[in-house]
Structure formats: C-alpha cells, structure tokens
Symmetry: C2
Subunit: 475 residues, 2 copies
C-alpha cells in the first residue's frame, strides 16, 4: 500500500527541475540559474538547492561544466530512470519491481565486499565449490559438443529427464514433460506470479520469510500475509483466519531449512498443511531449494510427493548446492500449468542458457551431483559445529538460537531490546555484513540472520567477537 | 484493446464446469454427470458437451476413469492456468504476457520440426555454428575455471569490458559501467519495458516489425503505433503525427537488416531520426542484433554512436551471430539508466549464467568472434546468391522482394491478392514452415517472411518450388 508521501524541500526542488526538463522548457545544454538565484526563486535555503542538484547530477540529468555552470545533459531515458515509481495517483506499472536496494542484502554487497566478513551471504563458500569436477564436466561437455541453438520451450530434455529421475528419488513421480527449467528459483517464482496469479490476491507465507525481502509478489499487486511458525514449521491452523473468501489466495512455503530461520517442517506438519490446503482449494508453492543441505538426516519427503491433487508447484534449484552462477532451477507441477509457464518463460527470455543446462544435466545424470552433495553435507556439519560453539562462547548471554538440522542459516534472537538497525550499521562500519531480521518481516524484529556457509571459520569467529562488542556497546 | 468476447456454447459449458470446480461444489474425485444429462441440463447439443469435456481434460481439470466416468482431478493450479486472461472488466494482470502461441513462430516449432523444411527460423544453420572453436573456448575456460557464484548486478566484468571495446570499434564510446548483460535481446527489451515505461505509453516502431509478434509491450499496457518505412528505413517525418503530447512515447527501431523486411537504414535517415527524436525528447531503443550480419558492406554507425544526449538505449546480442543458446545480449546506455535496469534484472533472475558470460567474454576478447563473423558473412553471401536465384526462377512471376544487403531475411510480397493464412496452412501440411507477414503487422498483409539462414540450399529450393505450387493452387 502506498505510504504517505512526505515530500522534502529538496524533493520539491528536484521535482521542479525535472518538470522544466521533461516539459522541454530546459533543453539539453540549457544552463540552469545559479544556486543563489534558484534558492531565492523557490524560497528555500541554498543548501537545499545544493542537495537537489547533487541528486540530479547523480541521476545523470545535470552536469557541472567548467566555466559554464550547471547544464542539462539528458532529457529522455535518464529522466525516466530517475522518475519515482507511481505510488498513489497512477495505476501501478505492470511488473515494475519495487526497488529497494538498501534493504535487500542477499547477493548484493558493497563494491568492496571482499574486504568484509560475510556473515550475510546466502551461498556456499568458494572452498566448497567443486572446481575439479566442474572443470571435468566442462571438458567432457566440450568434447561432445555439437551446434546448439534455442532449446525446447520447457528446457533441455536430458536435464529435465535427469531432474525427473532425481525427483523420483525424493519420492515425487513427475515426468520430464511436467518440468520447466528456469534461471534459478527466483525466476520460477516470478513466472508463477506473472503467469498464474491475479492482482489483489493474497499470498500466505511464513513470517519471517525470504520472500518479504524480494518485491516480486508485492509488485505483482499481491498482499503478503505472514503466518506464525514454531520449531515444527509453519502453523497450518493459522491459515483459515487469514483467508477472505472473496479474495483468491495461495500459500508459499520453504519447508526444508527455511530461510531465514533454518526450521525444518516436520512430516506431520506437512500432511496437515496439505490436507488443509486441499480442503480449502489453496494452491501451494513449495520452495525447496535447501532440501539437499541436510546435515543430521534427510528431510521428510517434499509436500509435492504427498500431493495427489496437483495442488503443489515445486521449485528446486542448483544454486544453493552446486553454484548460483549456473542459474539453473526448475518448476515441477501439473503439465497444463507447466505448459503455460513455459510459454511465459519463452516470451520472457527464450529459455535458459544451453551451456548451463548441459552442464547441469551432466552433473545430475552422472552421479557427480550426489557425490558433491555428500561433500557439502560434511563441510556444513563441520561448519555448523564450529559456528555453534563460537556463538555459545561469545553470544550465549546475549542471544538465543536454534541449532539448524540443515542449511547454513541461523536466526539469532537478541535477548534484550536493542535497535538491530544500529547494530547492523555499526557492524557494517566494523567490516561485517549481517542481514537484519527486519528484511524478512518488513517490520522491526529483534533478530539477525547469520550464515555459516560462506565466511571462513576464522572470519566467522572474528565477526562474532566484534558483533558481541557491538551488541554490548548498544546497551 | 479487448476484442469483443464471443462466448461459444462450448465455452459456456466450460465456464459452467470451471465454476462448479472453483466454488468447491465439485471437489477432487467428484464424478460429473453423463454427457447426455449435462447436455439436457444446460440445453445444448451433446457434441457441445463432448467438445467442452475434451478441452477440460486437456487443461488437466478432468479425467476419464475406466468404469467411473469423468471425474474432477484438480482444482487449484490447473484451474488458474486454464483461466482466460482478464480482458474487459478486470484490471490487466501485471506483466501477464498475452499468450499467442499459434501466431508466433520464431523459435517455436512443432515437435516434429526436424521433418519440416524451415524457411521461417530466425537463426543460423547448424553448419555455420563454430563447433571446433566453441569446443576450444570451453576447454580453455575449463582449464582456468575457479569457483563462480552470483555475478555483479551488471554482469561479468571481463565480458562488459570486451563489449565496451567492441562498441568502441562500432564507433560508440561506452564504459563497462554503462553496459548491462542480459539473457538475450528479448530480455533486454522486457527489462526496459518493465522498468522504465509507463502503462499507457505509446511505442512507435516500424511496421511491419518483429515486435508486433511478441507481446512484451502490449502486456505492459503500451500501444504499438506502426510507422511507415521505405527502402531507406523508417520514415522519421511520419513520427510527429503519431504523437499525442499528453501521452509519453518512445521509439523502437531495428535499423540494421530489419526484422522482417531486411531493410538497412541509411546514415542520412539515422541522423534525421536522431535529430527529430532529440528535438521531441523521444527516447529510442535501438535493437541492433543483426548489425554484424552485413554481406556487402558494413552498415552505417549505430544510432547510439551519433547520440550525444543519451537518447538511445542500445541493445546488442550474440544470438544471431554466434549462438542463441548462449542467451547473451547487452544493453548500453546512460549509466543511471543501466543502474536501474541492473537492479530490476537482479530482482528478476539474479543475473545471467556465469558460464555463458565467461564463454562469451572469451569469444569477444580473444578475437575469435571477429574471425567467426567473417566466416558467417561468407556463408550468408553464398546463401543469399543461391536463394535469390531460386526465387527468381520459381517465384519471379508471383512475388517481389528486395535483395537484402545483410542478415538472412527476405520479405516476399505476393503480387496477386491471396489469402496468406491459407498459403501458410497449406505449406505447413506440405512440410514447410513459413512466417506469414501478418505476425509482424497484426493485420492481414500480402507478404511472407523467408529466411535463407537456416535450411540447406537444397531444402530451400524444394520449399520454394512447393510454395510456388501452393500459391498457384490458391488462385
């Protein structure tokens, strides 16, 4: 919902100047009046004008030219890019994603990220990346490579067949015809949102949830309704009271090693959720991208495997287990639904990279993927043991957490009431990247998401020690 | 604009049944009444009911079960996928792409496409694909490969640097910071549409144009306004009368070896277009993906190279020259615009395949790409000579065409008035794939788009001979 718009004085100056440019009154090369004169004309302080001009220079609309003052340098694309998104009067733009760079940290780090200790990053460390095997897979692929062009709309058939076999091992019978290859789970969710969901629908999901940090669904005009969860996962009995019979609704869940809490949904809970959704005719998106990162024991079968009615669209990915750089994920579901999503995918980007699809097929069909997963689990087990011990040593008095049975995420709940935003900012200045819990709830919350999957354990300890000091200082 | 909705009797039956399912009145497993009974109840012929049930089975909502009759098998996702798109009452869905499978043939062939003679396919023949060099590039890449994860939001830096150097050779100075890697030109156009254009805007473009066949812009709520063109390209003087000052507008053009006509815009025309757009503050999308396929002489510099104001967003791609399977294209433009598009790209799919980006970088930075382009040009020259000679022999009396100076498309204009839809259908049955001109105009037109880039020249001649007979028969 649109927030009330507080237009600062500086924003008013910006608006005034953009208007002059967009109306053509100030063409390219036009020298704008001096700061003093503008301030007088608009009845604001000179510092306000200075701030506005800085912003417009950054947006690429103005430029300071030696001996000429400030001139207009663009009045077309740059003006469009600098326009705020329509919020109140206008109809929202179709598929315009709300841009919210500052809040969303996943896969988006400062330019100098190398100098930071990454306790935020949602991917595996480089030393877990299977360089040798990846090289061999590429060599093998290179040796047998023929000409390749556009793939079939649903994706490279051998990859879909390999995924079909893989899904069968997870307990879900699904043919290659009912699988669509996508460029990562996020694109899968995008396609579902664009192709199947109606504006104004409700999306019921765990709160906190990764999805609160992305703006895919909100941009599609959907309302996110957070559901409570406990150590067994999402609480299905909370669903009915969030349903308005006149509004279409769907459920989105991350049942295995949930992002950001790390919680694993129990088998009993999975059945309850499915039964309830079946009785209420609620479709489910099962985002299961962390499934294979189990440490103690394999998770219960996917919701999709228990689903006899086609209620579940299953989203899988190689990004969290093998490499996000492949950009390979998939959606499995009822064939007519997959057909429709495939057509939308085709009109969006003509399919995913043929190379990535072939490399992924080789990994999955050869057994190398399963081998690699064993290695990843060993590594995560070591990392988890070390990380938990460090947390106990340094943060035991200040925070609590559950030990995740898989994945690499820890949801750190601060014991005393503290401004997590401040802690986040101070940590940033101390060279530590954290994801404040508010990213995943859209509201203040006394929690931080930590990842033990990326930083070295030495760095992890350094980071935790500094974090302790920052928390203590924030008292 | 929504077409008037003619709901056939069979559609009414479908609607009735879908309603029963969506309201929950007919749950999963519900056995529906016999065809005879349904026909009676709804006051329609039994054949109407049969047709409706067939459609619903195809949609995955119903299933015939031996000894049980027809039962309901799904009531969630399949129902959503089978819903018609909102056309009249509802607000359009955000980013819902109008699906129009039957009309759009580019990169979308029947399952048995191998048995067809492909005179429609908008890509290069497999025997032009540089298998050996691609294998070597992959080997080299494999040998030097390290861990790879998510790339920077704008894409793999060495690729952007290689493209920056490449653009400089085309006469356009643009830094790597002002380039965004995308998964093919189509995605680039999608991102621009989603991120920068407002609902209700006008898109001015050549008519015919490839873009009439895609539904990216229409789905984004834009109105396509076709501009006339002649043998020198789009006619700029036609632009002002298509502009409504109260409606934002942009220009989309394919100046080099235009799709579908093959026309090359002259340098003079390019300057006129730019000057006019600058004076009217019209932003331009320059889709230049065929540029390197020149046969007789290099095309004039891109519009972008003549643009001093940042009016042009330049879209390039490796799909038509190297391989569409790489899914690598780029957008070059003013940095603040590229920044914004990069953020939207990140929220859409977290960036393009790291492997494809690395392979593309190796091709472009090593000089192999330029070498390959020379080979492609030789091949296209041979193919063009052969194709034109075959056309003269077989279709000289029936059609006219211009000889393209690059690319692989011929816009065949039939001399006598004939139903191109019928010719298209008959050709299909004779095993020949053609693209009727109406795809590119959204209205009937006496033209066919032929490609001499894909089929072997033997197949091309067979196809043209059959086409001659079909045209003669259609008199």
């Amino acid at each position: 919902m649109p927030k009330e718009h507080h237009q600062s004085k500086s924003e008013k100056v910006i608006h005034y100047i953009k208007n002059k440019i967009s109306e053509g009154e100030w063409p390219i090369g036009h020298k704008i009046a001096s700061q003093r004169k503008l301030a007088e004309e608009l009845g604001v302080n000179r510092s306000t004008v200075v701030a506005a001009l800085e912003q417009l220079k950054e947006d690429g609309l103005l430029k300071g030219v030696m001996g000429k003052g400030t001139i207009v340098i663009n009045n077309t694309w740059t003006l469009l890019a600098a326009m705020p998104q329509p919020e109140t009067n206008e109809k929202p733009k179709p598929s315009l994603l709300k841009l919210n760079q500052s809040d969303e940290a996943e896969a988006f780090e400062p330019d100098t990220a190398e100098d930071f200790i990454q306790l935020s990053k949602g991917e595996l460390a480089e030393d877990i990346f299977p360089v040798d095997n990846m090289q061999q897979v590429m060599m093998r692929l290179a040796g047998s490579l023929g000409a390749f062009g556009y793939e079939e709309p649903k994706g490279y058939l051998p990859l879909r067949e390999a995924i079909s076999a893989y899904m069968k091992r997870q307990g879900k019978e699904v043919s290659a015809e009912s699988i669509l290859i996508v460029s990562g789970a996020l694109q899968g969710i995008q396609l579902i949102s664009a192709g199947l969901l109606t504006r104004g629908s409700s999306l019921l999901l765990e709160k906190p949830s990764y999805l609160f940090s992305m703006h895919v669904f909100q941009s599609a005009g959907m309302t996110l309704k957070g559901l409570p969860m406990d150590e067994d996962g999402l609480i299905p009995s909370s669903i009915p009271k969030h349903i308005d019979p006149s509004v279409p609704a769907i459920v989105y869940t991350i049942p295995s090693f949930h992002n950001p809490t790390g919680v694993l949904m129990t088998e009993k809970r999975r059945k309850e959720l499915l039964d309830l959704c079946a009785s209420m005719r609620l479709p489910i998106i099962e985002d299961d991208i962390y499934r294979e990162l189990w440490i103690d024991a394999p998770p219960p079968p996917p919701l999709a495997s228990l689903d006899e009615n086609g209620d579940v669209l299953y989203v899988g990915s190689l990004s969290k287990t093998l490499s996000p750089g492949l950009r390979i994920g998939w959606i499995a579901g009822a064939e007519p639904v997959i057909e429709r999503l495939a057509e939308i995918k085709r009109q969006t980007d003509y399919g995913s990279s043929s190379l990535s699809q072939r490399v992924a097929a080789e990994w999955m069909a050869s057994g190398l993927y399963e081998e690699h997963l064993s290695f990843v689990r060993q590594q995560l087990k070591k990392r988890r043991t070390a990380a938990i011990s460090m947390l106990q040593t340094h943060l035991g008095d200040l925070a609590e957490w559950d030990i995740p049975s898989g994945g690499f995420l820890i949801w750190l709940r601060l014991k005393a009431n503290r401004r997590v935003k401040d802690i986040h900012a101070k940590a940033y200045h101390a060279g530590i990247l954290l994801n404040p819990g508010s990213i995943y709830t859209n509201e203040a919350v006394q929690a931080i998401r930590l990842s033990y999957g990326y930083a070295s354990m030495e760095d992890f300890e350094t980071g935790i020690k500094k974090l302790k000091q920052i928390i203590l200082d924030s008292l």
